[in-house]
Subunit: 197 residues, 2 copies
């Protein structure tokens, strides 16, 4: 939980910590809500963003979604409605990842709970960290996962050494996916990694 006074501070905070949801005003000094959203999306942050605004013009709403926002609430609003919308956005993240969740990745099957990666009845049990990294990539499959966010989530800190560890795990994961060339972990220089299939 963090309160930022303008877009610049918000941007810094997001890069420093890791959040489940961002609630942002459109009109802010220094960096407005649209630009904040745009910058975050450009840097691979997929954190859901809910915009608050006093103006009710449709173009504002449209622009809000186009710049990468996920929801929009016009002022004045009832606090209950805000709460429920934030919950909806946050819930999207954890979207019922039950014990039996299975990710289908190309010809592979990945079961995070048991760390099993299977292809053609050939099972590999991934080491814990490899599994965690893969899970994180699966959750945002097709989207770029920000390196720093990933490090903060899994290692707790995004220093240089942890980054290098991550590089190693990415290599190892790539090796696992060699038998199906439609599966690919793409690196987005300076931003993060993207699981594609």
């Amino acid at each position: 939980m963090h309160l930022a006074y303008d877009g610049v501070q918000a941007l810094e905070a997001v890069k420093r910590e890791s959040f489940n949801v961002i609630v942002s005003d459109i009109m802010m000094p220094n960096l407005d809500g649209y630009s904040l959203a745009k910058k975050l999306r450009a840097e691979g942050y997929n954190t859901p963003i809910l915009f608050l605004t006093a103006r009710s013009a449709t173009e504002d709403v449209v622009k809000g979604f186009e710049t990468g926002g996920n929801d929009f609430l016009k002022k004045p609003f009832a606090i209950d409605e805000l709460i429920v919308r934030v919950k909806a956005l946050a819930g999207r993240l954890q979207a019922q990842e039950s014990a039996e969740t299975v990710y289908i990745i190309g010809r592979y099957e990945f079961i995070p709970a048991s760390k099993i990666l299977r292809i053609d009845n050939c099972e590999t049990i991934l080491p814990a960290r490899e599994s965690e990294v893969l899970l994180r990539l699966c959750r945002d499959a097709g989207k770029t996962v920000n390196t720093s966010a990933l490090l903060k989530e899994l290692w707790g800190d995004d220093n240089y050494f942890n980054l290098r560890s991550l590089n190693v795990y990415i290599t190892r994961l790539r090796n696992h996916f060699k038998t199906d060339h439609t599966v690919e972990i793409e690196s987005v220089r300076g931003i993060g990694y993207k699981l594609k299939y």
Copy 2:
């Protein structure tokens, strides 16, 4: 695309076909929106639901989310806002360019998603920036793409150094297109570049 006249018909339709998004009124004969959402969720359908309602009470909104809805729009609403919210739910916003988009440029094939530039079964995987620049040119193929606009889109700033970088990427792209002389990146002095083929 399917239009159902009440909740019961909607339920049947969803079970029969497969949808990306459901837009539903709250008040419907036979089976209201809340119950529809509840039933669908109970049966394991995760299709995003957007509720429309005439009543603006906060409790309605809250109930809408609690029964499994994903978004809520009060009547009267602007059609643009509905469209943009549906798009947001369908998750298609960022992907106006689907993952499979292929540009045919003379004898070349360019697949932005995988950054592949192919000619006569000879594949090159373009570096990220080269790919982005080419994509930008492709979108406005035959038209002049303004240099400053392009720089602001891809680099975020159109200063002198970024301009010089762009010049380098244009050269590199031209080199890739050397085998088919019908393809050309023309420079429009003082304005921008034009991809012609």
